[in-house]
Symmetry: C2
Subunit: 963 residues, 2 copies
């Protein structure tokens, strides 16, 4: 480098720099700090330009994009054709002034009285209004991919609720179609063309009603068939008449108001016959006295009189015995439509509910002998249904569902214009039956949408349609279900059914809104700001109340159906990535439960093992001791907390993938062993530190593990970390396999550290693998103990603990320390010494010795042990042993070794055939110098035993005799 | 040491050893391995000897021990006096054959018919039997400290449920007392001494019933007063008559069976007057025709006839107009007690429910003109209550509660002999009213027990009693409540009330049993093995059904009362160390919710910040930046997960206490800041490792933190760990204080890394502190961007995100790199170099330099910066600057510094008055050499800003425009 040319150097820096800025990384100079991850994180300017038409922004909308990509462009041009007034307001009005309002409102008012009718209307409207508010909030909370309440609910409450509610809504809409047809036929047969009746009515009311129902069934089915065919062959051809039908609707609405006004001043003549205050069935009189018209004079004509005489008296003679009521009361004729000014309102202020078969009476007329019962043979007008406030609610409710239908359409308006137009063009072919086709086109499309969402597998077939997308199969199913409704034949029986389904739907709309507000889902930011969760909650309550008020058994049936759909979707439904509001609920529930658990430490009698199972993965990422998990699952019998943890050694950034893989391995193993629990895997530079931190920090709140399970570290002689110190009651397990049906679990209860030794076998025996195993409890009596009394006490204690076990007290008398003990202690100490020296030098030349293993293997094999024992048995201080004792072993080590050897002898003697041996684990040494000796003691203690569980309680009681 | 005397050495070892074993640590040789903790963990032999009389074993029983220590000894000697037969079986029988059975069973059978009556008895017995099974399981699950279902439930379900159920049981028992008194008085007035009536009955049934009720009230109150006095002054004096009363009971029971048998063959004469099939009130006839006896001839006497004529006809003359029914029907007299053989059973097979005021008719008799209504003036027997199946269930149920009372006593038998004897000695002073005193002694004692448990603070006064322990105040309250029941006066109205309370109690017994079985509480090991959770569940269902069947409004009232007591105890009750079965429920709920949450990663629209707030404690264990918690609480608005964590450096065994203290500090601070969440504190040798492991392992299942919050490490220049690398979206916060009511939160949105920048201010503004703050979003447009279009797009985007914010696009044009930038980069690099060298040497002489700080402070203070800028403003390549550039700075560092300086200029310019500035945090450098430079860049970027939140998203979307 030329030192003198500093100027050129600087300029070259600038040139290089400028060059770089101008050419390849032009933007990098201004936003250079963020350049490292520009590939994954877009700059705002480029994001915004991509977002310009809001198609590629985020996940969650792909499903709908695919379906709508084709038609989108042409629809966009059509969209402005239909304004809010024509598109939403009028159809809503059409629906509101629907069949129920026209056919049943007068009846409802007459039966329930003006006040109660107002009450009914008020309650129903309240319900709908509150739901409309909730719906507005949901609808303005982001872009709804496609219209309709089904999508709103499914996208905000999740597929399970969405599917259940969607199907409810579908059934409701379908039955609504049936109801509209029934309404139309009823008008046709009752008012427009009574002659069209096919079935002849015998001369009593039951027969007449039955004949009417049969007429309804026949005509209804024909009508349904025609409508379905019309919808199937070509909805489009009728589209152009849409505005004509709309005009009809408006005209009708206006004429109602005009009629009401006109009749107030000049009531039309529509006479009704009365006997006393009982209404006479004019149809029958009319039919029998053909040719005579009901003229305005109040005196009955001869033929009428004759007919009536025949009906009420036993014989046509004048001296025949007649019906008492007939004798005592006069005939009269009153105005059927008296007009608003006639005081009819005050007369109808109060309710007059009737039972089925009651005679329809007019309260304002007088009568004598009122108690005399009417015979069904007589030509009175009888109530054909038992009315009550609750029933009327159920019948009236469908008339207020129009608002919801309108809000469905508001969704349609935007995204599915074609559907919308086809639905509403056909609207009102015949006034009063306007909504049939709305149901017959709307319902199949809804079903198709649900089917296409693929959340309900068995509905999949209904997702297919004709080439132009018309849902053929869905239409067929809809028609079939509607036919069911038509076979019921009575408007008053069908109405409560659809009331239920609509109310279910409303209930969930309100629930969704209230839940999301209460759970404070961050994504819950509706633009419609005039809602409050109390309103939604109130709406929900009203819906629920209405459901049970109008018919509690229908309500229960509807709920059971919805519940079954929910469960079905939960088990068999496709996984959906919509997310659900219920997640927030789970989160809240979990948080609440955990906080509640944290309030205090559990009482002894609530203690249950909450396991942290520490597993080790070998080089091939296989779990080293998978049996530990088997054991864990057997111990928990499926209940309580299990955390399975492992530590991957390495740097986090480099070993992150390895950790993920390890987690997957563990999860897979947990699934296999049917352990329900959680999995934790951390990357640590030093595994020992990692384990320590995991034990300290795993779990949350009250769900912290209180028991650590780990396998015996067989390689402890080669390892630097002999054993981690654990404060929670640890639980060491060497190995466990599926045992046979008999045998024993042996407990060696030497010190009492909380009773875990007794609790564990009890828990194990809850599992089917261990159920047939017996349990034996051994304890050790020494010289001064009264072993007979001890056995008795122990048995009593176990009785109070409600644990069944055989009890044995093993007497261990003092004996001198054997030479074997001495020799073994000595060898142990020598090896420890050696290990310490090696480790010291190892830490200096750490890198070099990492790969090579311990050079000297100094383990006592079993053969050697027994051989040695045989040789030296009996002689406690052999002569030839002295030279080995040139180093004097540590006093306490000798004593400990003595315990280990003696206990091991006793245990092997008694429990050699046990399926599992549980044993107190001695406390770890207080200073870490004794770690190797400690491991050696434990190995001596458990020598010759097949399956040992070393148990060490934390000191607190885990079992109690108290209730 | 003498080398030659090897033998003596060995023997001295042995001697020493033996000496030690013999003297001070005699037991240690056999159990030497366990000696280290013998002080805390007792040997089994010593434990068993201590347990011999089972008093000092575990916690949980102290409360009762204290109360019973005094009387225990003398009671123990009394105990054998009362066998199971005399002590449990007979009192049970007494209770079962109680007032309801004697007074109402016949009526129930007559009204409901034999079949339905059997059904009622079967349902009620089912309920009691199933409850008895559950109760047996609970009672055999360990030692119940004191008797009674209250203790069983409170000890197994926890104080809240225990208190609620206990009070229900108390109210039930008290009302039972009232019922027994009413029953006794009814017998007295109806059958034994009708003359004793005080109130005169006018001549119509309503008057008679009212007078009877008043009589009941007066006599009932007197009776209650007498009984209470008796109980108060001396229960003991009547004790000796116990067996006499028992004999009475047995005699009565036997006489019922004998009577039934005898009447089958030779029915007694007990005539009843009938008019047609309507029953005539014989009392009235009798009263009016005094002196005449009802003789067996069927012809009514003259006076009787005269009297009846007066009643049914308008005048005494023979030609007067008479009641039509009277004219057409004949008088007759039938047997009131026809005997079993008379076909009465088949006649009563079916039900004959009556409404209040209906005439009691005998179906087997014929009558004409049956439709003619009966006037209440006429001397018929009218039904005084509207009967139905459900009502009868409610009235009959108390007769089966005797079983429960018996099981209560079985507890008494064992632990509270004195109570038991005093209760049952008084039993049966007058047969039929046997149980009054049982209630009047039992109920106060129950109340006293509840009060002494101190779970319901306002009941505390009732825990006190007389010197001998008799509960004076409790007795007073009981008498007052019983008086309430007596004022109701009708047995048929009181019975359903106590039915409710008993059923509530039964329900919870079954619930407790079913729950503990299903939750597999390890301590749930009843010796009674003939139970199953399905039985308990069935029992629970039956109880619930019976409650709603017999009276749904009473059921709701009882549940509301119980619910209120539950909530009261939850809030105000004393903390009890009993533990509760509900804990297992919480555990299961938490586990279920967490597992459910774990099923998949949350959808974007369900994303909510789950914070891990990392706090640092200073040397005095104070939290260094407590404002972080304030911020966290403001961000969460109380919802979602918050984990507050800290790392204590040191060795676990040594620093364990310190960690506990730190946890307490954090918890205290969380309480203060009202952050509901969890607290984690781990001890780590290296804090950096600890933090890394905590971030990896904290949380459980779906409740893992997704956001890390930490303060700016102001001391990073002095620290070896500049910053931990975080993978979760981290969130850096410099400082935050309570802001004023106005102002802005400014968001500088430079790169899009998931939308967290937009979500955070939205969440903050949900909190009242930030509610009035506006939100501004700034983004950066460069040369080639159309900033007008960008602004429009951004506004639309925010509209779809439903976030209200002002939008501003800041144009940043390319500019040359200033000399200031160069100089600053250069100084940064020099310092980094120096730091690296120092650190290198430091690691060699680690111990020495640990205490001393960085010798050279090279930070740019604000003054210096602005001063420099003023001097050099305008000139981009000053001449006098060349000599500083002798070391050429790194190309990319210069560019990054340029970004930092330019952005900082713009941000300070626009947001200097903002309350909070949110800023994208640039990605950390890929290699750790850049760590210091990175920190320097961040400091330059945020220079001159008061409150900055550096936000770095994890890359996944956290906000969506979709619903």
């Amino acid at each position: 480098m030329d030192q003198g040319d500093g100027n050129s150097k600087i300029s070259s820096v600038y040139i290089n720099n400028t060059h770089g800025v101008d050419d390849d990384d032009f933007y990098d100079r201004n936003l250079a700090l963020f350049e490292e991850e520009m590939d994954t994180r877009p700059k705002v300017s480029s994001l915004l330009s991509r977002l310009a038409n809001y198609t590629n922004l985020t996940q969650g909308a792909k499903e709908h994009e695919e379906a709508e990509n084709i038609g989108e462009k042409k629809k966009a041009s059509k969209s402005p054709q239909m304004g809010t007034f024509m598109g939403v307001y009028l159809p809503c009005l059409q629906n509101i002034f629907g069949v129920i309002l026209f056919l049943r409102l007068t009846w409802v008012v007459g039966t329930a009285g003006v006040l109660q009718a107002l009450c009914i209307v008020f309650i129903c409207c309240c319900c709908t209004m509150l739901t409309a508010i909730s719906m507005s909030a949901i609808a303005t909370n982001g872009v709804v991919p496609a219209g309709g309440s089904y999508f709103m609910i499914s996208r905000s409450l999740g597929p399970e609720f969405g599917g259940a509610v969607g199907l409810c809504f579908y059934l409701g809409t379908t039955f609504a179609g049936a109801m509209y047809i029934l309404g139309a036929i009823e008008i046709l047969l009752m008012y427009m063309a009574p002659k069209a009746a096919i079935f002849v009515s015998p001369l009593h009311p039951e027969g007449e009603a039955a004949a009417m129902l049969n007429d309804m069934r026949v005509y209804g089915s024909i009508c349904l068939l025609l409508m379905s065919l019309l919808v199937f062959v070509g909805v489009k051809y009728v589209n152009k008449l849409a505005s004509v039908f709309l005009a009809c609707v408006i005209l009708s609405i206006i004429s109602i108001y005009i009629g009401a006004l006109v009749s107030a001043f000049k009531p039309p003549h529509f006479p009704v016959c009365m006997l006393g205050n009982r209404t006479i069935n004019a149809h029958e009189i009319h039919d029998q006295t053909t040719g005579l018209t009901l003229d305005p004079s109040h005196v009955p004509t001869l033929m009428e009189t004759t007919y009536l005489w025949q009906q009420f008296c036993h014989s046509p003679e004048l001296n025949a015995s007649c019906d008492e009521y007939f004798i005592w009361n006069n005939f009269s004729e009153i105005e059927g439509i008296p007009g608003l000014a006639s005081g009819i309102i005050s007369e109808n202020l109060w309710s007059s509910y009737l039972s089925k078969g009651d005679v329809v009476e007019k309260g304002s007329l007088s009568s004598s002998h009122a108690a005399h019962p009417a015979s069904t043979r007589q030509p009175y007008v009888f109530a054909d249904i038992t009315t009550s406030f609750t029933l009327l609610v159920g019948i009236f409710f469908p008339s207020v569902t129009g608002i919801m239908a309108g809000s469905n359409r508001s969704g349609d308006l935007k995204d599915a214009q074609e559907t919308f137009i086809s639905v509403h063009a056909l609207f009102s072919v015949i006034f009063f039956s306007t909504a049939i086709k709305a149901s017959l086109t709307g319902a199949p499309r809804l079903l198709q949408a649900i089917a296409k969402d693929n959340i309900i597998p068995f509905l999949r077939v209904f997702g297919h349609g004709k080439a132009n997308g018309e849902p053929t199969w869905a239409l067929l199913l809809t028609a079939l279900i509607a036919e069911l409704g038509i076979l019921i034949a009575s408007l008053d029986l069908v109405a409560p059914i659809l009331t239920m389904f609509f109310l279910m739907c409303y209930l969930f709309v309100n629930l969704a809104c209230a839940l999301q507000t209460l759970l404070r889902t961050p994504n819950w930011r509706p633009r419609f700001s005039y809602y409050h969760w109390t309103l939604s909650f109130l709406g929900m309550t009203v819906c629920l109340a209405l459901m049970f008020i109008s018919s509690w058994y229908y309500a229960i049936i509807a709920m059971v159906i919805a519940g079954m759909i929910y469960k079905y979707i939960e088990y068999h439904g496709a996984e959906k990535e919509w997310g659900d509001g219920i997640r927030g609920l789970s989160l809240s529930a979990a948080r609440y439960a955990l906080l509640r658990l944290e309030e205090g430490p559990p009482h002894t009698k609530n203690w249950r093992p909450q396991l942290l199972v520490l597993l080790k993965l070998d080089e091939d990422a296989h779990v080293k001791s998978p049996r530990l998990l088997t054991f864990a699952s057997q111990l928990k019998a499926g209940k309580g907390l299990t955390i399975v943890g492992t530590v991957v050694s390495g740097n986090f950034l480099q070993s992150y993938g390895e950790a993920l893989a390890a987690e997957q391995t563990l999860k897979h193993l947990m699934d296999k062993e049917r352990v329900k629990g959680f999995c934790q895997c951390i990357v640590a530079q030093k595994p020992r530190e990692g384990i320590s931190h995991m034990i300290q920090s795993s779990g949350l709140g009250g769900m912290k593990p209180n028991t650590v399970v780990m396998g015996w570290p067989h390689a402890w002689r080669q390892s630097e970390d002999p054993i981690s110190r654990l404060t929670a009651p640890p639980l060491f397990l060497s190995d466990t396999v599926r045992p046979c049906a008999d045998g024993y679990i042996d407990v060696w209860w030497i010190v009492h550290d909380g009773g875990m030794l007794m609790l564990l076998p009890f828990l194990l025996r809850q599992h089917k693998v261990w159920r047939k195993c017996g349990m034996r409890i051994f304890t050790v009596a020494q010289m001064e103990d009264n072993s007979i009394q001890m056995k008795k006490d122990l048995a009593t204690f176990l009785y109070h603990l409600r644990i069944e076990a055989e009890v044995e007290v093993v007497e261990m008398h003092d004996s001198d320390i054997s030479a074997y003990t001495y020799e073994r202690t000595l060898m142990m100490e020598q090896r420890s010494q050696m290990l310490r020296q090696m480790r010291l030098s190892k830490s200096d030349r750490e890198k070099e010795v990492r790969s090579d293993r311990m050079p000297i293997q100094m383990t006592w094999t079993k053969e050697k042990t027994s051989q040695y024992r045989i040789t030296h048995s009996g002689c406690s201080t052999p002569e030839g042993f002295r030279d080995m004792l040139s180093i004097r072993p540590d006093h306490s080590n000798v004593r400990r070794m003595h315990t280990a050897v003696k206990l091991n002898e006793v245990i092997v003697n008694k429990s050699h055939d046990a399926r599992l041996v549980l044993l107190n684990m001695p406390g770890p040494p207080r200073n870490s110098e004794g770690d190797e000796n400690y491991m050696e003691f434990l190995e001596v203690l458990t020598e010759g035993l097949e399956r040992v569980l070393l148990v060490r309680g934390g000191g607190s009681e885990v079992i109690t005799i108290y209730s």
